[in-house]
Chain length 519, copies 2
Amino acid sequence: MFRTAELGRTVSKEDFEAVADTLRIEMVELQQHLRTCDFPVIILFAGVDGAGKSETMNLLNEWMDPRWIVTRAYAEPSEEERERPLFWRYWRDLPARGKIGLFLSAWYSQPLLDRAWNRIGEAQFDERLSRVATFEKELADDGALILKFWMHLGRKEQKKRLKTLEKDPHESWRVTERDWKHWEMYDDFITASERLIVQTSMAHAPWQIVEGLDPRYRSLTVLTAIRDAARRHMDSQKMRKRLVTTLDSRQKKQAPAAAEVATPAAAAASADPVGTAILSRMPSILSSLDMARSYDKKDYAEQAQIQRARLNGLQRRARAEGVSSILVFEGWDAAGKGGAIRRMTAGLDARDYQVIPVAAPTDEERAHHYLWRFWRHLSRAGRVTIYDRSWYGRVLVERVEGFATQEEWKRAYSEIRDFEEQLIEHGSVLVKYWFHITKEEQHERFKQRESIAYKRWKLTGEDWRNREKWDAYETAVNEMIERTSTHTAPWTLVEANDKRHARVKAMETFCDALEKRLG
Amino acid sequence: MFRTAELGRTVSKEDFEAVADTLRIEMVELQQHLRTCDFPVIILFAGVDGAGKSETMNLLNEWMDPRWIVTRAYAEPSEEERERPLFWRYWRDLPARGKIGLFLSAWYSQPLLDRAWNRIGEAQFDERLSRVATFEKELADDGALILKFWMHLGRKEQKKRLKTLEKDPHESWRVTERDWKHWEMYDDFITASERLIVQTSMAHAPWQIVEGLDPRYRSLTVLTAIRDAARRHMDSQKMRKRLVTTLDSRQKKQAPAAAEVATPAAAAASADPVGTAILSRMPSILSSLDMARSYDKKDYAEQAQIQRARLNGLQRRARAEGVSSILVFEGWDAAGKGGAIRRMTAGLDARDYQVIPVAAPTDEERAHHYLWRFWRHLSRAGRVTIYDRSWYGRVLVERVEGFATQEEWKRAYSEIRDFEEQLIEHGSVLVKYWFHITKEEQHERFKQRESIAYKRWKLTGEDWRNREKWDAYETAVNEMIERTSTHTAPWTLVEANDKRHARVKAMETFCDALEKRLG
């Protein structure tokens, strides 16, 4: 989940300054516009110390009019506060409609600390988070726009950052012994943070993970995200109000109000809002892969044999112990998923596995929830189920092609996490592969398929059309990995320009996962 | 919560037969209409054994076309089922769009049994229920209409019912030793059931508690509820679809589709649907109160003195131990809330209490979530906060007068429960009074107020206008009590036709609650 925020993204001074003035004006105008809206904006910053939480809050206060902003950070509860229920102080500080509230960690701070220090167990942590989720749900139901930014730094980067601050005589006060203690506990914090984000990232109050290394990058990311979300929210609030009015007037048996068409704030803004272009040039988790990885023929033969033997032994144990495995193969067209699956199954007993090719749903499947068809294929104890494409279609092809509405595919991230959690709780091994090839390599392979008679059937007009949407797919894949790669159900990114490397890596990863599960 | 389903409601044979044919035709037509809709209907029955769960499911199958109904009851998981995650069998059985699924207990059965038998603790129970809630949320998000009926019987009625079944040679097989064991555990089941209902009653999947004593009453209740909910759902799905289409076409920067006006299925049906009239004549929790309760002057003087002294002593202890109390006074206009509050505070130290009269919100309050103004008034440790009217205004006056939309006041039940849960978790004593007078008594009092000069200010045109909406208010009050009277935060219904009785009962109830809390 956090790997996608450790890519060293930076924005140059020139790039930043080229958009800063426009963006600043936009933010001020936005704020003025918000003052006339009847919902509050709640923006929360949390994350790794040193990743720029307070700096970003300061910037927002500097760039906008602080008279319409409530800024709150919390220390240990005062006596006054301890005498009331925990959330009293947060309720008290909520911004009124038309205003913006900036919150530093706030209601997330104590649960996270308590969990990282192991003062509470996982079940208690979940209970505390569920209270938080209910709180935010109630505010969102009341119309509030809620945005949450998780500012992230890798372990090494955090150390560097703390050192730098310590050396600066004006800043050294910021670094306390407690900060260093927390740095030592980095892994505990990360584990707890991931769970926190998974449990409290809702469509109405989503977390956005922001790489906190470079001040210009993180500022641009946060500011444009606030701007775009606020514009969308203004639109949807207008629409919702009209719907409620119409429904209500029907309940009261009056004639429905004539539906007027509001000027959508988002559409009114330029099609390519300021800052977007710069951010789209930033490296992604996919672009950070080392695509040169390869095996020569001899090494491959050797490695493939080793892994196949390993797999065979491990799966026999898994079968005996009743441990099921679920393998998910996703990837670009022509990335070699099918070939890798065949190499994998060559190491397995035919009675032990089942390959489920996932194409367009059948009529019966279409008449159910989109997860239904994956539930029904879950195999019995001790078997391997291989999905050639999977439930991730919801956030890939269905998103890009518009088969699912935005509301639907955004909701799907948590639905998928919930589904996978049930698989894992049941004791199954879950391995998810993304087979990655470069755009050039794909072109090469398409051309090759066209020229080889027995491969020609594999290539359709569909493939060429999908290729045209490469960028949209890439965005979707990056977001999918960010949102659904968790500690318990991580994505394995397979560098697949070299088929040999890809096949060995796929087998090896599965073997490692089986070995870990079987102990 | 269950008291409202122990009122001995019955529907006579004549009444039932007068509507049965029409209702039956409506149900068949509804089913045919549903077949063309693109959402499934999921109807779940749970509750006390012998309260008519299976009988009602059978009736639905008899009255509608079973070809379009999936009916499912579950035994212990089979080997096949144990080899997959718990919810596999439920996913597998979900009805397709256009069909109806009838489920007996299903996903609620095991958590409830495990909790009642104390095989799991409360935290684990909550976790299991939260998985259930997520499951239903995903289905509802996908468009499903979910209705859940909790069939209830009081302890004595259940015994009687089991005895009757045992005596009947054709039915005796239905009663097992396990049923009798469960009957002995009645209270454990009720406690667990209440928590189950509170945790899983959502706007998109509400529980309706049905008194299960009389087959005709419960059939009529369930059938009309299904009919009305299905009609509303068809309407709202149509509206939602239009909204999504419009929003989506905007995102895609196309011109929004011209909003056509659909024929609302609910409005098309008659204004007073079949069966509604009979059900509205049924006794309610309010109508079951013994309004003759009273004290003569001497008894009152004595009792009032005893309770006042008791209150004084208890509150001094509460103050010393830092235990706060929150008293909520709700009731009809002129029911004597103010007088009871003054008698109560006469027993308290002026530094210890605060009376919050709740009228229309201020501008500042209106600019926040409706619960905000109640949060801000929470007093410090050891004090008594008395709300003269309260957050319940949301589901009373705001509901009846249309100040809150249906979506808003329906959501409020769980928001309120959540708020009160936080007060109780914090260690506060919470007492909620509903001051009940008959409509005749109110008329009497209004007339009296008009004629006494120093009381005339109390009576406004508003009061007479509210009185005209007595029935709408009564419906709202009954529902409020059903949904928010829980084991930890029960409503105290005060028979207030006699002011003396009401004042003593109010004080006594508070004293009992304080005593219980202070141990």
